[in-house]
């Protein structure tokens, strides 16, 4: 699915790096815990999160996440959006809950961008 289609399905708004809207998204990783994204996220994924600080952008860059969607109407500070723009990291703002955002993308055929792990 392209980034543009993701924006459409999420009824969101692409506020960073709009020129990358035809980029291919291969999976989704959803978490507010950045260590989880670092441990189990897979490269090439979209990160859906409610965490809006600079570490969400740094984590995405470090983990080879290719775009970030902030759920439930959350808007990162301008400094965070600027950091994303600098790093060439597309950012989607969307009003859906984390659950709804994931559900819709799954329904549209986007698979998990996160490893499965048995309970310890």
């Amino acid at each position: 699915m392209t980034l543009n289609e993701v924006v459409h399905v999420l009824e969101g708004e692409l506020v960073c790096c709009a020129e990358k809207d035809s980029m291919e998204i291969t999976g989704v990783c959803a978490s507010d815990l950045m260590s989880d994204v670092l441990a189990f996220g897979t490269a090439g994924s979209l990160l859906i999160t409610g965490l809006t600080n600079a570490q969400s952008v740094n984590t995405a860059e470090v983990a080879d996440v290719v775009a970030i969607a902030y759920a439930r109407g959350k808007r990162p500070a301008d400094s965070v959006l600027l950091l994303a723009e600098e790093k060439g990291m597309p950012v989607i703002l969307c009003g859906l809950s984390l659950y709804e955002a994931c559900g819709r993308l799954y329904e549209h055929g986007l698979v998990s961008g996160s490893e499965i792990r048995e309970p310890q």
Binding site: D32, A39, Q55, E61
Partner: protein, 146 residues
């Protein structure tokens, strides 16, 4: 630090404890440098993840750190030598889920006790030495020549 004659690149950085605004700068800089050299993306990703978790730990738990980043044809090394409280029980700290993090740190998306296990998972070799009240040294090695 080694005097490895094969060193292609050596860079020094420093990290300031408590500087949440800049946390991540060293790891993302190292990532860019490795990209420029042309290492494969999955290898770079492992180095970046391990370094980033270690960098966050310095920002959160230590006063400051010197970071040495070395690249040879066969290994990538990142050494973080911090000054700070140190770690009393290393085996305990390495356990997944063990954390002394505060709510402030959890709000940053960390503090679930997964940092050191994440570093271990991504490094080919991890050496940690620590002295309480003095500091902690984390040596991350990733093999490059595969």
């Amino acid at each position: 630090m080694s005097d490895d004659p094969e060193i292609m690149l050596r860079e020094r950085f420093s990290i300031q404890g408590g500087d949440f605004g800049r946390a991540g700068r060293v790891s993302t800089t190292i990532k860019s440098m490795l990209k420029q050299i042309g290492f494969p993306a999955p290898l770079i990703r492992r180095v970046a993840i391990a370094t980033y978790e270690a960098e966050i730990n310095v920002v959160v738990y230590a006063d400051r750190a010197d970071v040495t980043f070395e690249v040879t044809p066969t290994v990538i090394r990142v050494i973080l030598e911090d000054e700070g409280r140190g770690i009393a029980d290393l085996d305990l700290a390495m356990q997944e889920g063990y954390s002394t993090a505060t709510d402030e740190i959890r709000e940053m998306g960390f503090g679930a006790g997964m940092g050191l296990p994440n570093i271990k998972r991504n490094a080919d070799d991890l050496e940690i030495t620590s002295e309480v009240g003095v500091g902690t040294t984390v040596r991350i090695t990733v093999l490059a020549g595969e």
